[in-house]
C-alpha cells in the first residue's frame, strides 16, 4: 500500500463523550462488557472441567472453590452476565430482521433485556436452591 499522508487533521466523527447517555447506548456498552467478562468466565469453566478430568483430588479442590461463598458469588455474577448477554444477542437477532429499530421498540427491548435478565437470574437460582437443597 502507498503511504497515506497523516499530517492533516481531518475532522473526526463525534464519539461517546459527546452524547447524552441513553439507555440503548448503555445497553450496547454493557453487551460488550458482559461479552468480555464471559470470555474470561469460560476459562474458569474449562479449568473446572480439566480438574474433573485430572484426578479426584483436583476435582474436590475445584468443587470446594466453586462451592465456597466467593465461588457462589462469582457463579451468580456469571449467570446474570450470561443471561444478559444472551438476551442482548436475541435483541440483535430481532434487529437483524429489520424489526424493533424504531424509538419505541428499542426502548421496550432494552428494558425487557434488563428486567428479563434479573428475573431469569433470580428464577435460575431459586430453581438451583430447590433442586440442590
Amino acid at each position: 500500500m502507498s503511504q497515506t499522508p497523516r499530517s492533516i487533521d481531518r475532522p473526526l466523527s463525534p464519539h461517546l463523550q459527546i452524547y447524552r447517555p441513553m439507555l440503548t447506548m448503555m445497553m450496547s456498552i454493557v453487551h460488550r462488557i458482559t461479552g468480555v467478562a464471559l470470555y474470561f468466565g469460560t476459562l474458569l469453566l474449562v479449568l473446572w472441567l480439566v480438574a474433573a478430568a485430572t484426578s479426584p483430588e483436583a476435582y474436590r479442590l475445584a468443587s470446594a472453590i466453586s462451592g465456597s461463598f466467593l465461588g457462589l458469588v462469582v457463579l451468580f455474577g456469571y449467570s446474570w452476565t450470561l443471561i444478559h448477554h444472551t438476551l442482548g444477542g436475541i435483541r440483535h437477532f430481532i434487529w437483524d430482521t429489520g424489526h424493533g429499530l424504531g424509538p419505541e421498540w428499542r426502548e421496550v427491548m432494552a428494558k425487557a433485556t434488563i428486567g428479563g435478565s434479573v428475573a431469569l437470574t433470580v428464577l435460575l437460582w431459586v430453581v438451583i436452591w430447590i433442586v440442590k437443597s
Binding site: G35, Y39, L49, A53, S63, G67, S79, F93
Partner: protein, 132 residues
C-alpha cells in the same frame, strides 16, 4: 485507495461485491451470528448439566459427564462458544488497540487463548467420556 477511481475499468460495486477491502466480506458478521444462534440451545443444556453436577462426588460427576449426549453437547458448546469468543474479542481489540504492534500481538494472543481454552475443554470432556 492507491489507485484513483477511474484508472480501473471495474466499478466500485464490482470491487466490493463478495469481498470488499478487508477481503473477508461478511463472513465475520455471519459467523458471529451462527455461533450466537448455536450457543443459545447448547448453553441451556450446558447450564442444566452444570446444575446437575454441582455438589456431586467425583464418581457421580464422571458418570454424568461421561454420558454420550452430555459429552457431545458439552463439546459442541465449547467449540461454538470459543469461536464466538474469538470473533467478539477480535472486534474489541480492533476498536481499542490502535498501535500496530500491540494490536497484532493482542489479535494473535486472542486466537491462541481461544484455541487453548476450547481444546482443553474438549479434551477434558472426551477424557471423562472415554473413562480416563
Amino acid at each position: 485507495m492507491s489507485t484513483p477511481s477511474g484508472t480501473s475499468m471495474r466499478t466500485a460495486r464490482r470491487r466490493v461485491s463478495g469481498l470488499g477491502s478487508a477481503r473477508s466480506g461478511t463472513e465475520h458478521f455471519w459467523m458471529q451470528r451462527v455461533t450466537a444462534l448455536a450457543n443459545i440451545p447448547l448453553l441451556l443444556v450446558f447450564l442444566g448439566i452444570l446444575i446437575a453436577v454441582a455438589g456431586s462426588t467425583y464418581e457421580e460427576a464422571h458418570a454424568l459427564l461421561g454420558r454420550p449426549f452430555v459429552a457431545i453437547v458439552m463439546a459442541l458448546a465449547l467449540i461454538s462458544v470459543t469461536n464466538h469468543m474469538r470473533i467478539g474479542m477480535q472486534v474489541v481489540i480492533e476498536d481499542y488497540v490502535h498501535a500496530e504492534g500491540p494490536k497484532v500481538v493482542a489479535l494473535i494472543g486472542n486466537i491462541f487463548f481461544c484455541a487453548a481454552v476450547g481444546l482443553a475443554g474438549v479434551f477434558a470432556v472426551l477424557k471423562i467420556g472415554f473413562g480416563g
